[in-house]
């Protein structure tokens, strides 16, 4: 129990509750269920992407191409829709595309041995460039999308839109996947101690590549949801969103050095940013504050992580041992 209270997730949940409490004291409307559901729905893309990013970070890598993958997959979804392809087929194609884009990153990291930051820095510009090549910079607007395509994420079931339900399903799957399956645990092992992972029969590079594929699939899923929800697709959608995703992970306590982090942490990290983003206009602070606030949150979070993770010096003295 005490270990749970001391845990990062509990602290973050507390921070979010305090934040909500402070806002509620002046603007009670913000904490009404419908409003909170809206915040959750609005944060769904960030939560989904943060889970993909988390898997990559667990394996000691980073995926800066998620937002570009999102934009490219979203655009392909919109274009396929324009050609009259049925929605299920669109979804399948786009998820396969996302997996393929993730595999490109993964193979470059695994087979060629290029550091992931360099690979994804390169692919993020390439993916966006490809959108431009496909469209010549043209937008796909709401009137060019079918109603079925646009309405799916907004369709409300049991009080929550489908987009929010997708996030719930992804969170559930990831909780089980990361705690209860051998593959899920192997991400922790590979990032926590790559050397030992080899002795356990794990292929470090292959596991990293799988992480990139997972991140790619989730980026593509979010790509469709994003394009359909905002009913527009163009080269620059979700520009810079990869940093929000990394920020959500860092705030959620996912160790950038790999091997440590939980689904709950990543989700709460995303929700923290989501609450701030949605609360700013309500409390009358200019949305231009958002960037600086999330930047500060990242720095505070990483400073906090480091304090927790710092190993105490060696304890040799008997007297010190008793006190420790």
């Amino acid at each position: 129990m005490t270990s749970f209270l001391k845990s990062r997730e509990a602290l973050l949940a507390l921070a979010i509750l305090v934040l909500l409490g402070v806002i509620a004291s002046r603007f009670p409307a913000f904490v009404e269920p419908a409003s909170l559901a809206n915040v959750f729905n609005d944060t769904a893309p960030l939560m989904i992407l943060a889970l993909g990013q988390m898997v990559v970070i667990l394996t000691k890598c980073i995926d800066l191409s998620v937002a570009a993958n999102l934009a490219l997959s979203g655009m392909v979804a919109a274009l396929l829709n324009g050609m009259g392809v049925p929605l299920p087929l669109i979804l399948l194609t786009v998820l396969a595309l996302g997996a393929a884009l993730g595999a490109v990153n993964g193979l470059l990291v695994w087979k060629v041995g290029i550091p992931s930051i360099v690979v994804t820095l390169g692919t993020m510009t390439i993916f966006r460039g490809v959108i431009f090549l496909m469209t010549d910079g043209a937008w796909v607007n709401a009137h060019q999308m079918s109603d079925a395509f646009k309405s799916l994420p907004r369709h409300v079931i049991l009080g929550l839109p489908v987009m929010a339900w997708v996030a719930v399903v992804v969170i559930t799957i990831f909780t089980v996947f990361l705690t209860r399956t051998p593959l899920g645990r192997s991400f922790y092992a590979v990032g926590g101690n790559p050397h030992a992972a080899v002795y356990t029969g794990l292929d470090v590079g292959r596991t990293q590549a799988i992480a990139f594929v997972i991140s790619g699939i989730l980026a593509a899923l979010t790509g469709y949801l994003w394009v359909a929800r905002y009913a527009v697709a163009y080269v620059d959608i979700a520009g810079g969103f990869e940093l929000d995703v990394v920020a959500a992970c860092v705030i959620g306590g996912i160790a950038i050095a790999g091997g440590a982090g939980t689904v709950g942490g990543a989700v709460l990290g995303a929700l923290f940013l989501g609450v701030i983003k949605n609360a700013l206009p309500v409390v009358g602070i200019s949305p231009f504050w958002q960037l600086a606030i999330s930047g500060s949150a990242i720095i505070i979070a990483v400073a906090f992580n480091a304090r927790q993770g710092r190993k105490a010096g060696r304890i040799i003295l008997k007297s010190a041992e008793a006190g420790a």
Partner: protein
């Protein structure tokens, strides 16, 4: 391991086995130089407007500001760190310059404000990384949002315009004939950084830290101080770039220089600096800057859109690192 020792060699060990010249010819820089020449020739065939002194001079604006940052970034990356906040430092420095200008001060104060902001931002990054021991990639992703976020808070969707006439010199002025102030500054800074990295004790400390920070500390190097100075230096160079860019554009928007950090990192990596630290040379970064500038300019002359250019750079970045590794893999069978 005793069998790996070259037993035949006596007590006098030669200084070097390969001459500096043969080494230079087989270096990454030699390859970059060949690429630069090839791009130059290709451009001159592709467009009749290319081989014109004034057009070429214009082309240099494509890389001078980024290269200034890349020099400092190169040292930082060699030392095993990274600063992703450089473009945001430019935004903040430019914003502060705008505020100083609006307050009625003249060009000297504006420039000083820009440089001081750069230094202050660098000091903040350095404090978090060198003093508190936080990982630089996360810290600077944070300050990247923070610095630009402050610019957004100050400016929102507004812009500062109306900089003094003489302020325009830094980004638009010419020292002599076709040689712009920025180009001359680029050349001078290239020389300064060359000397700093390759000809001073400080530069050697940077390499030692990049290869093995613990052993560097155990060799009496003040590792944290060197790291702090490198962040300070990167901040200062971002401040200088902010002065040039603001002067060239004549205005400040909070979105100024967006994405420039990635271009600077690309330039550094293309220049042959190991992203994991420990090796790399300033000459490579200079050549990479020129190549990137020439390619951008050539594509511009051919009316190829900027985003296609960025695909090319992305491929170049991955390709330049992948090809030598793949070739090595093939040779090993």
């Amino acid at each position: 391991m005793t069998m790996t020792e070259p037993k035949s060699i006596g007590r006098v060990i030669p200084d070097r086995l390969t001459s500096p010249l043969s080494r230079a010819l087989r270096s990454w820089e030699a390859l970059l130089f060949a690429v630069a020449v090839a791009v130059f020739i290709a451009n001159s065939f592709a467009s009749p407007y290319f081989l014109n002194a004034w057009n070429l001079s214009d082309a240099t604006f494509n890389f001078t500001e980024k290269a200034m940052i890349a020099f400092a970034m190169a040292m930082l990356i060699i030392a095993g760190e990274i600063d992703l906040s450089v473009a945001s430092i430019i935004a903040l420095a430019s914003t502060v310059m705008g505020l100083v200008m609006t307050a009625g001060y003249g060009t000297p104060e504006i420039v000083l404000a820009g440089l001081a902001t750069g230094l202050a931002c660098g000091a903040l990054n350095g404090f978090f990384v060198a003093r508190l021991g936080l990982p630089s990639i996360v810290v600077t992703i944070g300050t990247m949002s923070l610095f630009r976020g402050v610019s957004y808070i100050v400016l929102g969707d507004q812009a500062f315009t109306g900089y003094p006439k003489d302020f325009a010199y830094f980004g638009q002025g010419y020292v002599w004939w076709v040689f712009s102030f920025e180009l001359v500054l680029f050349a001078v800074l290239a020389l300064v950084f060359y000397i700093l990295l390759h000809r001073t004790n400080f530069g050697r400390a940077v390499y030692a830290i990049g290869n093995n920070p613990t052993a560097a500390l155990f060799s009496g190097i003040r590792v944290d101080r060197v790291r702090f100075i490198l962040f300070l230096l990167t901040g200062l160079m971002s401040g200088i770039a902010a002065v040039c860019l603001t002067s060239r554009l004549g205005s400040t928007r909070p979105s100024i220089a967006t994405g420039m950090e990635l271009e600077a990192v690309t330039m550094v990596v293309l220049g042959g600096v190991n992203i994991l630290g420990g090796s790399g040379r300033i000459l490579g970064v200079v050549l990479a800057a020129i190549i990137m500038g020439l390619v951008t300019f050539g594509f511009g002359l051919l009316n190829v859109p900027g985003i296609v250019m960025s695909i090319f750079l992305g491929l170049l970045l991955i390709g330049t690192i992948a090809l030598p590794r793949l070739a090595k893999g093939l040779r090993r069978g």
